[in-house]
Amino acid sequence: MSALLEVRGLRKTYGDRLVLDSVDLDVRAHDVVCLIGSSGSGKSTLLRCLDLLEDVDDGTITLGGVEISDPLVDPREVRKRVGMVFQAYNLFPHLSVLDNCTLAPRRVHGDSRAAAEERALGLLDQFGLAEHARKHPDRLSGGQQQRVALVRALCTGPDLLLLDEITAALDPELVGEVLTIVRDLAAAGTTMVLATHEMAFARDVATKVCFLHQGRILEQGPPDQLFTAPREDRTRQFLARVLPTAG
């Protein structure tokens, strides 16, 4: 089966600094790919490149058989199919929760207000946020805001969801609340690429785990293999640091 997203030889530099170096990655439909690795290893940068928020310096990104790293491709067309959620929520503070969620469906996808609101309210309800629909984001807790950000990304019905450490800013109780949702999405067959520091979670939901080290994917494989029998020393050292109890 051909991949939904294909990354080949991706390279990204900031000035002299090499941040991503010949990254290869395949994401098939219904895959949940977890990017792990220490801080500064390039996880966020990779996700930003996938969403065309950064110009890459070499290599190709192919989405559904179309090379989207081509300068002639309109990034907006790509982003209609790809949803992204950021670590810092990035909700629009001047819009209510509901308006945050209906902005893109109405303005980009041309849905009617009624249809967009119905869909958004359905999703908000599903994620336990129905009572907050008319509030402004600053009034919500961190976990609630992050769930709203997820709903906002889901409202356009993306083929691929990119999640960048969406639980990093949350306290452990709220982490569970957000991860449950991601787990539900994974179970429903949503295709996702997510950067995370939650190893237990990665082990649980991932179909594939990629270990990034200094801008390269040193090792990738199914979670059972990567967490229990890593091939690379670096991976073993990293896992020993983040999972002190695991063998």
Binding site: G9, L18, S22, T60, P71
Partner: protein, 296 residues
């Protein structure tokens, strides 16, 4: 199309000597072509619009008259030294007023956002000041202070019309600038004050070290707007018989029945404004580049 790089991602090495792939070179060529095309469209359109305007104006029936009245080279040359002398006064007035206005405006804005009960009278004063001074047309203020204060004949009060015209400009513009600063201060998210206070900073310290620096950056464009406006309004001092560039031009125009001096003065003001605008644009871009790099 895609040049599939060989096999597994785990293969190390080959990083040291990187040469762009064919695909990347091709992509750079496309990017270059796109950039060149948009540059071409932009410059083509600008030239076209300017040409059309030029033709429309010069082909109008009254153009020869207008040209003689407003764009006479002889008159321009003749009035140039006087205008230059006068303009030097405008420039000095502008530079001095600008500094005073910045300081006064910021102080008034800070007085308005202060919370301390001790500062309540100052706060009331600041509100009254901005409401009142923004309401009075600048020209009236210049006339009242420029003619009124010297006429008082008080001991120790300067009698120079230029001085009082400058004071009028300062009072009027500080009120505007204070409101600009206040809007900037209000636009900084409260979480910034909260995190500053969490570090143990007092509220004035939080304002001084965290809020105001961010606010100032945000309000640079509207401030520049006010300063361009101030540059032009230094011309108002001519109303109280101060011999500035506009006064010199009006003098000459009335004597020679030719309006070219006005165009010359206008050119002076434009020449002064454009570099200031470019400078602040540059400053602004530098700040943004440093603070926003890839930030999400």
């Amino acid at each position: 199309m895609t040049d599939t790089s060989p096999g597994s991602a785990t293969a190390a090495g080959s990083a040291a000597a990187w040469t762009p792939s064919l695909r990347e070179l091709e992509r750079r060529a496309v990017r270059r072509r796109l950039r060149r095309r948009s540059l071409l469209v932009a410059s083509g359109l600008v030239v076209l619009v300017l040409l059309a305007l030029g033709v429309a104006i010069t082909s109008s029936p009254g153009w020869p008259n207008v040209k003689e009245l407003f764009f006479s080279w002889e008159h321009a040359k003749a009035v140039f030294p006087d205008v230059l002398d006068g303009f030097w006064l405008n420039v000095r007035l502008f530079l001095i007023c600008e500094v005073v206005i910045l300081v006064l405006g910021l102080l008034v804005a800070l007085a308005r956002v202060a919370r301390s009960p001790w500062l309540a009278p100052v706060r009331v004063l600041a509100v009254v000041y901005t409401d009142l001074l923004r309401g009075i047309p600048t020209l009236l203020l210049v006339l009242m202070l420029g003619f009124g204060m010297p006429a008082l004949g008080l001991q120790g009060v300067p009698i120079s019309g230029t001085f009082w015209a400058g004071v009028a400009l300062v009072l009027s513009y500080s009120a505007y600038v204070a409101e600009v600063f206040r809007a900037g201060i209000d636009s900084v998210h409260p979480s910034q004050v909260a995190s500053a206070q969490a570090l143990g900073l007092s509220r004035p310290q939080a304002l001084r070290f965290v809020v105001v620096p961010q606010a100032v950056r945000r309000v640079v464009p509207p401030l520049l707007n006010d300063f361009v406006s101030l540059q032009k309004d230094t011309a108002l001092v001519s109303a109280v018989a101060v011999f500035d560039a506009v006064f010199a031009a009006r003098d000459y125009a009335a004597y020679n029945f030719n309006y070219t001096p006005y165009v010359v003065v206008a050119a002076f003001f434009v020449v002064l404004t454009v570099p200031l605008a470019r400078f602040t644009d540059w400053l602004q871009r530098r700040w943004l580049a440093r603070e926003r790099a890839g930030q999400l």
